[in-house]
Assembly symmetry: C2
């Protein structure tokens, strides 16, 4: 199988860390695309993913799966151990809840802040800097919420490492482009970040 990605982009990184945790990294051939050059905007790539985003997993029979969490779900179903999307119905629901909170209130505003304020994609979208700044406020609020949540906790959900930890960490790192980071007084978030960063998978 192949995975189309851009190595420095945050969504492909989420997939690679997920795969590394399951020991699957060597199962796929990684194909690098240059998004700024628009290598994801060709008709050939739109055949693989009509949304023209990376990552895309292409199976050996040509079937394509888009969307980070859909690719992760596929690997979780085929290789359930170690469980990264929860171990029982309640934990699966709690992981899903946190994945969505991280996605909607943290990752998406992070991306939109970048898109609407940096000018990186201003050749292909309408940038509304005022909206980008609203998103930045949402991002800062989520850093605060995560710090509060992590007081007395080792992981975001329950007592085990999960995709919620992967996605939160990747979003924090992604925020370098917005020059937003963990504040000095966010000690619980900082301790969690330092602990999670030591996992070998994080360098995937």
């Amino acid at each position: 199988m192949k995975i189309y990605e851009m190595k420095i982009a945050p969504n492909p990184r989420r997939v690679r860390i997920f795969m590394a945790e399951k020991g699957l990294l060597d199962q796929a051939e990684f194909v690098e695309l240059d998004l700024q050059k628009g290598e994801n905007l060709t008709p050939e790539f739109a055949e693989k993913n009509p949304m023209k985003k990376v990552p895309v997993l292409e199976l050996d029979d040509g079937t394509c799966i888009s969307e980070t969490m859909a690719i992760c779900r596929y690997f979780e179903e085929l290789h359930p151990q170690p469980a990264l999307l929860g171990r029982d119905p309640l934990e699966k629901a709690q992981v899903e809840q946190w994945l969505r909170w991280i996605e909607f209130y943290f990752f998406m505003p992070t991306g939109m802040c970048f898109q609407h304020t940096s000018g990186y994609f201003d050749d292909r979208m309408k940038c509304i800097p005022e909206w980008g700044e609203e998103c930045r406020k949402g991002v800062e609020k989520f850093f605060h919420l995560l710090n509060k949540h992590l007081e007395g906790r080792e992981y975001i959900v329950g007592d085990g490492f999960s995709a919620a930890d992967i996605n939160a960490l990747c979003t924090i790192d992604f925020n370098k482009v917005n020059r937003v980071g963990i504040k000095e007084d966010q000690v619980h978030l900082k301790a969690w970040y330092d602990r999670i960063s030591q996992r070998e998978s994080i360098r995937a």
Copy 2:
């Protein structure tokens, strides 16, 4: 168990249809909140869901699960039949892919178009009408994409009804607030919509 909701809001509707398909509607007590009056903004409700959104599922031991798809995931794990989130690893990934496309490129811009152009929530957020109009364009594009995808298909994913059908239908209906609907020439989307609308669950 209890479900906190507002009956006319689209996310609670997604959960009710999902539960109806599994025959679970009578298992929960539904507690109605008035969002415009801010009944979701109280400290008591923030204890249940720090994001202050509905729906929230409260289990008998007081554990709360927020987020539509997390609640659906919980019911799917406890009551796997009929499967609404896919039947095998590939189909589960495909349902997840479509759920995310529908959420990111259809439901979210629908909600943001409403929030930023209607004035309904202008007492509690900064409205940027220009952003709302960008979102409207995204919504219209997705109507077009769905119509194309549904040519020759009975359901959005594979050969069975899934949560992807529920979420797309609820998003189309939600678009009444934006005065966006299925166009005359979107015949595949129209045929699918009419077919799905006949299911008893849709009136839940």
